[in-house]
Symmetry: C2
Subunit: 222 residues, 2 copies
């Protein structure tokens, strides 16, 4: 099964392609720490295969998942550009194949091909707006609504999602990680799934079957 590159997070091969194609590929097993919170950010990553989560350690010790990336995504770029340290820790959730891009290489590339600068800026702009969108979701949407929003994203990751009608897809993450992403305790993720049952949605063994996707869209306000 060939994974699709999600269009929203895609690294736009036409932009970064020439740059990354000259870099060596690294393979890491699940559980590998790629970088840790507070470490100097001198590189960013392009994920070719696998899955990586970015999280912060809250004072109470619970880990707070900020983002989860799949094949085709890049991460660590804003931190690298800001010339400071990583604000999060990056860990491979599954065995992953990725490309490590060091700052010096990127800066040299920008210097050599200045016509690419506007494209890189546009890339960063889009990334920023995605974040803004996430923030709005946390402000406005209830936890259940956020779950529906997440389910729509997860569904889109494995194929096109119709406006309405039945749909079935596999959850890309274990439930407790979904909880971390949408800010919901694992127990309540479970309860939210059960609640969805009364709306024509069944979840079992990581498979989601919805009688009508419109339920998700309405809940998530999309």
């Amino acid at each position: 099964m060939s994974r699709r590159v999600s269009p929203a997070e895609g690294f736009h091969l036409d932009l970064l392609g020439p740059l990354i194609s000259e870099q060596p590929v690294t393979d890491v097993p699940a559980g590998t720490l790629l970088f840790t919170q507070g470490e100097e950010a001198d590189r960013f990553f392009v994920l070719l295969e696998g899955r990586v989560k970015l999280y912060t350690a809250s004072p109470s010790g619970a880990e707070n998942i900020m983002q989860v990336f799949g094949p085709g995504d890049f991460f660590g770029l804003p931190a690298m550009l800001s010339l400071k340290s990583y604000p999060v820790t990056g860990e491979a959730v599954a065995a992953s194949r990725l490309i490590v891009m060091h700052r010096a290489v990127v800066l040299e590339w920008l210097r050599a091909t200045p016509d690419q600068v506007p494209h890189l800026l546009a890339l960063l702009g889009r990334r920023y707006e995605r974040m803004l969108d996430s923030l709005a979701a946390f402000k406005v949407l209830s936890p259940r609504a956020r779950l529906c929003r997440y389910l729509l994203e997860a569904a889109a990751e494995s194929g096109p999602v119709p406006d309405a009608g039945p749909l079935s897809f596999a959850l890309p993450l274990p439930a407790h990680m979904i909880g971390g992403r949408i800010g919901l305790a694992p127990e309540n993720v479970s309860r939210a799934f059960r609640w969805l049952g009364s709306h024509g949605v069944s979840v079992s063994r990581g498979m989601v079957k919805a009688a009508d996707v419109a339920v998700f869209r309405q809940m998530a306000g999309r």
Copy 2:
């Protein structure tokens, strides 16, 4: 009273200074819409005086305040760079003086002074991480804790904030807008303030007096 430029959001005069100094200054009265959600983003703004809020209109009609900017801040830059439309509406909350930067001018500036590119990227990177920080706050912190976090920011805006000890400062925004920013209904902002009363904090007439700032820091986890 001279307003301080908040270091975190500051536009870094040394970077943008030469660029903005050649642009005309615009004055607008309170309530002016600078740009609206969905409009093509062909410019960004540098705020010299006044206050501007960025908000989205939720389906139910309630406005969701995403960010509020003061003197020295810039906004609309990521949207402009992303080559798309503004994801939010920008409105002057108070009479404001600002500089409008059009995309063509910025791109020409980048072309002419390529050595500024890394600095602009760093600026965007920092902005992105601020957003990440906000997002974490919404995931991890309770509404009350978010209020304390906001109060710390507000205090920092009007002067240095000690690690502990008494502090008094003026709220830069009316209560209902604070609610919009931290995602709390106005009634509950009031209740949260009253709750703070039992922790040595009094709020009246837009003035906050805290017996010990450490209360805020502890609540906000900083």
